[in-house]
């Protein structure tokens, strides 16, 4: 076992959880076509990230990691239009951020280990993750005013 391996395995788990969450949000908000299509696509992307990280986790003999450290999905207090969507997107944002920082940790270690293959894999994942974060931010900015200010 190695600590780097455990970090990669953790990255893998968080990506897999993000993938599941994207898919769930897509299904829950199928009436919002952009949310449906983009969450479906980004979920597939995260699933692929998870799959690409797994062999490295095995190679570096990482310990089984627990679930994400991120807080459980908050139940929205408000039930007005858009607030469930806002809560779901915000949750995705936090998870994607977690993916990003976990991936950054792995990339730093991979650079120190001079593992070119891992650097290239995790860098490609990170680039896509940061677009995911930016898309979530864009959609949250659109959603928040309408969800929170219209009585």
């Amino acid at each position: 076992m190695s600590r780097l391996g455990t970090a990669i395995r953790r990255s893998h788990y968080v990506e897999a959880e993000l993938a599941r969450t994207f898919a769930g949000v897509a299904e829950r908000h199928a009436d919002e076509p952009d949310v449906f299509h983009l969450c479906t696509m980004l979920g597939e992307q995260s699933k692929e990230h998870a799959a690409r990280l797994l062999p490295f986790a095995q190679r570096y003999r990482g310990l089984e990691a627990g679930a994400s450290a991120t807080v459980a999905h908050p139940t929205p207090v408000e039930t007005g239009p858009g607030s469930r969507l806002l809560a779901d997107l915000s949750h995705l944002f936090v998870l994607a951020q977690e993916c990003w920082i976990d991936g950054t940790v792995v990339r730093q270690a991979a650079l120190a280990k001079r593992d070119k293959e891992l650097v290239s894999t995790i860098s490609a994942c990170l680039e896509e993750t940061s677009t995911q974060v930016r898309w979530l931010q864009t959609r949250i900015k659109t959603t928040a005013p309408q969800a929170l200010t219209i009585e």
Binding site: E32, D34, L38, M41, P81, R134, K141, T142, P145, Q146
Partner: protein, 815 residues
């Protein structure tokens, strides 16, 4: 030409009866007589005129200067007036856009002004029925509902959905009223359906909207590349201009991308009849060929662009063979097209709805910009890009901010741009909503559906026929809780669902300006009085603003103008210093001569032929309209992202991988539906359906099918078929054409006002019963060009389908 198409097919067949009597000249031949001329010589003039039956030119009492509002071309014309009525039109020979020519819609469309079913008085819903009333009661109702909503729920409960048919002065008044007055971010135009991607692609590549090229580039180009742009039907007079080059000395080469056998495709050196929804794969392959064969200007690229390495990395995955497989065309045709583009000396590229309303719209439109950028062919005579518009005044919705953007191509993420507007309007910056990207039309309707928008004001457009998935749109408009105000000149399908209908004066009945697809500004003067008590759109907005008591921060009225010329002067101040600078224009300057292209300033008093002539783009961080987006997701960049990219005056090469459409054909829905226009109609036929010649030329809907598909379905020419998608069903006659196999085309013009006035109860025929609720992630333009459908024969035909045989809908046998 005269009675029928040269093929011997009748020009049109209303109700199955072969109609061979008098056919107006420009109906039988939409493009008229040729005036061929060699490359780099000026386009000869040809004056077209049509007067009402029995009106002799000597009878015309007054010719009033205007321009045509029935497509994005905006041809200069004079309106003939006799005894207070419009009696005809004549093209303006001095105008740079048309040199006197008019297309069928321009020649015959004006008759709608005189139709006897114009709205002449306001209507309010009373006991479920729309009843005539006066302005005071109608506006009183709108204002009291507005004040209740504003007090109870706030400005975000208002939505405004306007048009590509108003004048600049109307749009700017609306933009200031909704932003600085009400303070709602929910304002969009139906330009979202026609031109949003053009604007978005220009913002991604050049960081600001603004058409790079000019129509005069048709005269000096040596190669034309038309992507999803059936110019012969969408801008007939621009096609006349191209035809006069094609038939003159040193004609340009022509490459056409279109799944249909359009008239331009018939003239093409290479016609790439791709599967609808696959533009990006093809364009990536063309870029790859250009790079691999070194048909690029590497030095120009290094000096004038950023992003080449990223573009190269993406497009290198797209061999001609791979694209051929995806698009359903031959690899050698892709290579032949690339060679023509690569060897061009002056390449003029254009795009329209085949790109903008299709899968991956903005990403594809950007690749068209990229083709010209890699060749260093922009801002030079004959070399440039025309990202076309759908509607005559679409450009003005984009400039003034009636499409949700900020007026004057200002950047919602740039606080100093907001401060400029706040100073101009004398309001606090926070009064102007700028906390997010503009709310696009489909999102406005979604808010109305879920109930957070309580008042929807629809101006000069007909969403009950033109938005996707009509069943859904009609049920939103019919919601009890939603207060719907419709401002229009006829009782459209949408107006029939309104709570209050406000009758508006239209083209010819008010004075104002509008700007065409190549930035040319025209003045359109009032020729006649509006019918009844109908009022100009701007006057209605000013009345509302006054009744609502919209004030600036010192308590003075927010809107400081009352005439259209004063509104134009206010707009000049707003546009000054921005890319769309009108400050050098005036009504007087626009009178008498040709239209003038912006920017028109003290330094460029005659306007500006083409943008970016110095190879510098509007990509300074403090000046740009937009920081750009990720083309796949639509994720918005912020200022830091943009400064890191550091374009600083250079154009931005953006790339994206092809992704298949979300609704490809499948077992139970084996055809791919695409929708579009015919040459004789505009939008939902509100005007063109009321012109006898235009209506007779294309009186009813049809579907175009490839003969091998028709054979498999047992369908012959003129047979009635049912077309069904997962969302709806229509019944129309089949026309067998040279369209790509597996693709079905239905024109989108046909609704129900002239059959049963409300909805599809009798015989559904609106193409948008079938289309999908989905939009491009960047431009938010709905996807009208890809939906899966199934088709079955329901009855034998009684003759050919009611489809024109002069155009892309010509019968296959006639070729």
């Amino acid at each position: 030409l005269g009675l029928s198409h040269p093929s011997g097919w009748p020009v049109f067949v209303p109700g199955g009866r072969v109609f061979r009597t008098v056919v107006e000249e420009r109906i039988a031949d939409p493009w008229g007589r040729r005036t061929p001329h060699p490359r780099a010589s000026s386009w000869p003039s040809r004056v077209d005129q049509h007067l009402a039956d029995g009106v002799h030119p000597d009878d015309v009492e007054q010719w009033v200067q205007s321009a045509c509002v029935l497509c994005a071309n905006g041809c200069g014309l004079d309106i003939a007036v006799k005894a207070g009525r419009i009696v005809g039109v004549r093209g303006r020979e001095v105008d740079r856009i048309n040199k006197g020519r008019l297309g069928p819609k321009g020649l015959y469309g004006w008759q709608a002004n005189n139709a006897d079913d114009r709205l002449v008085r306001p209507l309010v819903r009373d006991g479920g029925v729309l009843r005539e009333t006066d302005w005071d009661r109608a506006m009183g109702l709108v204002v009291s509902r507005s004040q209740d909503l504003l007090g109870d729920r706030g400005p975000g409960s208002f939505g405004f959905y306007n048009s590509g048919q108003l004048f600049l002065e109307d749009y700017y008044t609306l933009a200031v009223m909704t932003r600085a007055g009400l303070g709602t971010p929910h304002v969009d135009g139906n330009t979202r359906l026609c031109t949003a991607t053009a604007g978005a692609a220009l913002k991604e590549s050049f960081s600001s909207d603004g058409q790079p090229a000019s129509y005069v580039d048709v005269e000096s180009c040596d190669t034309l590349f038309l992507v999803g742009h059936n110019v012969a039907e969408t801008e007939t007079v621009l096609w006349m201009r191209i035809l006069d080059r094609l038939e003159g000395e040193h004609p340009p080469k022509l490459v056409v991308v279109d799944p249909r056998p359009t008239v331009p495709a018939q003239h093409a050196d290479v016609h790439l009849a791709i599967r609808n929804g696959t533009n990006l794969a093809l364009l990536n392959a063309l870029l790859n060929e250009l790079i691999a064969n070194r048909w690029i200007d590497r030095r120009w690229i290094d000096e004038h662009t950023v992003g080449f390495a990223g573009l190269e990395a993406v497009v290198s995955d797209y061999t001609a063979e791979r694209a051929a497989e995806i698009c359903g065309v031959q690899a050698e045709d892709i290579r032949a097209a690339a060679k023509i583009l690569g060897e061009a000396e002056a390449l003029l590229s254009t795009a329209l709805q085949g790109v903008y309303q299709s899968n991956q719209a903005t990403a594809s439109a950007c690749q068209i910009n990229n083709i010209n950028l890699l060749r260093g062919m922009i801002g030079k005579p004959g070399a440039g890009v025309l990202q076309m518009n759908g509607q005559p005044t679409a450009q003005n919705t984009r400039e003034t901010g009636a499409d949700g953007d900020l007026p004057g191509f200002r950047n919602w993420q740039n606080e100093s741009h907001i401060e400029e507007l706040a100073a101009l309007w004398n309001v606090e910056p926070l009064q102007i909503p700028h906390y997010g990207p503009p709310t696009h039309a489909m999102q406005i309707f979604r808010y109305a559906e879920e109930g957070s928008i309580g008042l929807l004001w629809i101006i000069g457009t007909n969403p009950a026929v033109s938005l996707p998935q009509l069943g859904r749109i009609q049920s939103i408009l019919a919601r009890e809780e939603l207060f719907v105000v419709v401002q229009d000149c006829f009782l459209t399908e949408t107006a029939g669902l309104a709570d209050v209908v406000l009758p508006s004066a239209i083209w010819g009945e008010k004075t104002g300006t509008f700007t065409n697809a190549d930035r040319t500004v025209h003045l359109s003067e009032q020729a006649v009085e509006p019918p009844g008590v109908a009022r100009p759109d701007m006057a209605i907005f000013l009345d509302y603003a006054e009744r609502m008591g919209f004030r600036d921060k010192d308590g003075a009225p927010l809107l400081t103008w009352s005439t259209s010329e004063e509104a134009f002067e206010a707009w000049k101040a707003c546009s000054k210093g921005r890319p769309c600078d009108y400050s050098g224009l005036s009504y007087d300057k626009l009178r008498g001569g040709s239209g003038i292209p912006w920017p028109c300033t003290e330094d460029a008093p005659d306007g500006t032929e083409r943008l970016y002539a110095d190879g510098r783009f509007h990509t300074e961080a403090g000046y740009c309209e937009d920081y750009g987006h990720d083309l796949v997701t639509g994720a918005a960049n912020d200022e830091a992202d943009y400064r890191a990219l550091n374009p600083a005056g250079r154009a931005i090469l953006k790339a994206a991988h092809y992704r298949p459409p979300h609704e490809p054909p499948r077992d139970d829905y084996p055809f791919s539906l695409t929708t579009g226009r015919t040459v004789y109609h505009f939008h939902t036929r509100t005007k063109t359906g009321r012109s006898p010649q235009l209506n007779a030329a294309a009186p009813d809907a049809w579907v175009e099918l490839a003969p091998p598909d028709a054979r498999r379905l047992g369908v012959g020419e003129g047979d009635r078929v049912a077309i069904e998608s997962p969302r709806g069903r229509i019944e129309v006659a089949a026309r067998l054409t040279g369209i790509k196999e597996g693709v079905a085309f239905v024109p989108f013009h046909y609704g129900y006002w002239d059959v049963d006035a409300s909805g599809p109860s009798g015989r559904p025929r609106a193409a948008n019963e079938l289309t999908v609720t989905e939009w491009d992630p960047v431009s938010k333009q709905p996807v009208y060009k890809v939906a899966a459908v199934r088709i079955e024969k329901i009855a034998e035909g009684e003759g050919p389908a009611p489809a024109p045989s002069t155009t892309a809908s010509a019968p296959a046998e006639a070729r």
